[in-house]
């Protein structure tokens, strides 16, 4: 058996509590508060203590899917990305780059969000990129 304890930051509210995910053979089995966390100093709320319960939940999306005859069918990454790229290119070429809008997330990492807005701005040449800050 392989055990690891991984120091990270809680994905819920923006207090930014530091937590330790307890990993046994690639299963996150529990969550502990980190005493070194500047904003939580060893505490977590009920959501934080139970955060591992959703990560490996059976409902997680694991493979891409594509709409075919009104329902979503599992496809490979290449099929999904090729189709998405060709559809976005088709809209861009048919209706102009301002025909596609972008909604990012206040839950993703800074790095993911940076790439997301860069993709929208650089590839489509507009600024119709927003996220749920106002929600």
């Amino acid at each position: 058996m392989e055990f690891r304890s991984v120091l990270t930051t809680c994905p819920y509210c923006a207090v930014g509590c530091n937590m330790l995910l307890q990993v046994l053979d690639d299963q996150i089995v529990s969550t502990l508060p980190a005493k070194t966390g500047p904003s939580n100093e060893g505490s977590l709320c009920i959501k934080g203590w139970n955060v591992h319960e959703f990560v490996q939940h059976q409902d997680r999306l694991t493979t891409p899917s594509l709409r075919q005859n009104d329902s979503l069918k599992a496809v490979t990454w290449d099929q999904a990305l090729d189709h998405a790229a060709s559809e976005l290119t088709r809209l861009k070429d048919t209706y102009g780059p301002e025909s596609v809008a972008f909604v990012g997330s206040a839950r993703c990492t800074n790095e993911e969000t940076y790439v997301f807005q860069k993709f929208a701005r650089a590839v489509f040449g507009h600024n119709h990129v927003d996220h749920c800050a106002r929600l």
Partner: protein
């Protein structure tokens, strides 16, 4: 936040307005409790009697949407009694005469009439806030999610400057952000008007810097915000939508209208960790990694950039940035990042507030921006000695009522918010058995007087209807809400409170008025 969480413990007075802090940020609320134990006066202003309200020295239960009147009224009392900080006003601010003119119009009696708050409570709050050595304001979406959200925030800024309660430790105007990386998403320029680090797209030097670094042609025209995007889809302007980690078909106001927009799209791409009501409309769904599979950073509410580390390999097989990179590359704009740190370093090189940060420096306790150089210790609180714009600007703001008020067809005020067990649209927390067990179904809080009048029993299923839609909810009969006001949490996709809410927007920030609309209640057929 202008200041940091730990500083709140040393404040002498805390005014928490429009923040259900023990529920939405339990660990942040600990600082408020500790401040109270240390002798601070705790004032909570909230139309509901929340847990933190019941623990406060003073609970101001003002009417929904009357925040500007309340704050102007407090400033009136402070100014008339000479409790304002004249030296601070003279040295650090401008435009005070315009403010003085407006607050003159809010004597205690008129303020009390608009807000429903007794005059003696207004006087007590004004005195505690203005005359304490260090007073901090905390607020959240109860202030911003109004058609007057910008006015509300500017009014709080006015109050802090009037009393000189900003730019020092344990003071300030502190929005406690509701989502783990809402600060970071703004910091990263995921907004229609700014590039990373709040560098305005309308400033030619900013645009040139990024255009050169990215080798791309960029637009100087601000884009549309999320709710405006829905309008633009329905008007036929947008044919495609790319949604990354968001669930508009539960979280946006007026969900019935959002569904029509999703149906109207020629192409909808959704990337998420779980199937959602939004992904049900998608043409392509891409699986995403959760925080526990991601390598990168979040920015917390106190502007602290902290590390996020992967505990397990990506469940979908790819990191989220890899997916975006592969899509971009397929569209003829190749990206060649090798890891999260690689992306962070590029961002930091273009973003002065992050310029001194690196993963090596962040690894221990993170750093609060601005942190412009590699030897800069980060910034615990903002506006020391000087505001970002130089002098602090007073904005003279008059009171405007909410966009929709109760009438004979829709006689109740509805306000929405969160529960202690759940987060946003519940896609994560409602899948946690421990949390789900606590609050399995949507409940509408209704005052006992109203319940009795409508013959509604506690626990009975009732219908709530607005001009935009209808949902079912179980009646929770409670004095947390005043007669005439009901509260519905926003977490339940199957009976989404946002089928009822009004998409009236603040004219500046375009934030929807989630916190106020009119509804009717009836027993279920």
């Amino acid at each position: 936040m202008t200041n940091s969480f730990k500083e709140l413990e040393s404040a002498n007075c805390i005014l928490a307005i429009g923040t259900n802090t023990t529920v939405a940020h339990p660990i942040g609320s600990m600082r408020l409790m500790r401040a109270k134990s240390n002798g601070a006066k705790l004032i909570v202003a909230d139309p509901r009697r929340t847990q933190i309200a019941s623990l406060a020295h003073l609970h101001i239960q003002h009417r929904l949407g009357t925040d500007v009147a309340l704050i102007n009224g407090l400033m009136h009392i402070i100014y008339k009694n000479g409790w304002h900080n004249q030296a601070f006003i003279e040295e650090r601010t401008e435009n005070f005469p315009a403010l003085a003119e407006v607050i003159e119009q809010f004597p205690p009696e008129r303020t009390s009439e608009i807000t429903g708050v007794p005059v003696d409570q207004l006087k007590q709050a004004a005195e505690w806030y203005s005359r304490s050595e260090s007073s901090a304001i905390c607020y959240v979406l109860g202030i911003t999610q109004h058609s007057t959200g910008t006015d509300n925030v500017k009014s709080l800024a006015n109050l802090s400057m009037l009393c000189g309660q900003i730019g020092r430790p344990s003071t300030g105007v502190n929005p406690i952000r509701g989502q783990n990386n809402v600060q970071g998403a703004c910091d990263m320029g995921c907004l229609p008007n700014v590039l990373p680090g709040y560098q305005y797209i309308t400033v030619p030097e900013n645009l040139e810097k990024f255009a050169k670094a990215w080798n791309a042609k960029l637009s100087p025209t601000p884009g549309l915000t999320m709710v405006e995007q829905i309008d633009a889809i329905l008007d036929g302007k947008f044919k495609g939508l790319v949604v990354f980690g968001a669930n508009p078909v539960t979280s946006y106001p007026d969900v019935n209208r959002v569904e029509k927009a999703m149906q109207a799209l020629e192409f909808l791409l959704v990337m998420d960790i779980f199937p959602t009501p939004t992904s049900a409309f998608a043409h392509v769904v891409l699986p995403a990694c959760s925080f526990a599979e991601s390598d990168g950073t979040y920015s917390s509410s106190e502007r602290r950039v902290q590390r996020v580390r992967p505990a397990i390999p990506p469940i979908p097989g790819k990191a989220n940035w890899e997916t975006l990179q592969e899509l971009s590359t397929r569209m003829g704009y190749p990206l060649k990042y090798t890891c999260g740190e690689d992306i962070f370093n590029e961002m930091a090189s273009l973003t002065p507030a992050f310029g001194g940060m690196s993963f090596a420096r962040l690894n221990e306790k993170g750093l609060c921006w601005p942190c412009p150089t590699a030897d800069h210790p980060g910034t615990q609180y903002l506006h020391q000695g000087r505001f970002s714009r130089g002098l602090g600007m007073f904005n003279a703001i008059d009171y405007r009522p909410p966009a929709e008020a109760p009438d004979k067809d829709y006689p109740f005020w509805l306000t929405t918010g969160t529960l202690f067990t759940h987060y946003l649209t519940g896609t994560m927390t409602r899948r946690c058995p421990t949390l789900h067990h606590e609050n399995p179904v949507v409940e509408v809080e209704i005052n006992p007087e109203d319940a009795q009048r409508l013959h509604i029993e506690a626990g009975e299923e009732i219908q709530a209807t607005s001009r935009r839609g209808t949902i079912k909810a179980r009646a929770l009969v409670t004095t947390k809400v005043r007669p005439g006001v009901v509260f519905i949490p926003l977490h339940y996709a199957e009976n989404a409170a946002n089928r009822l809410t009004n998409a009236a927007l603040d004219p500046v920030t375009k934030t929807p008025e989630y916190k106020v609309c009119a509804v009717n209640l009836a027993k279920s057929a």
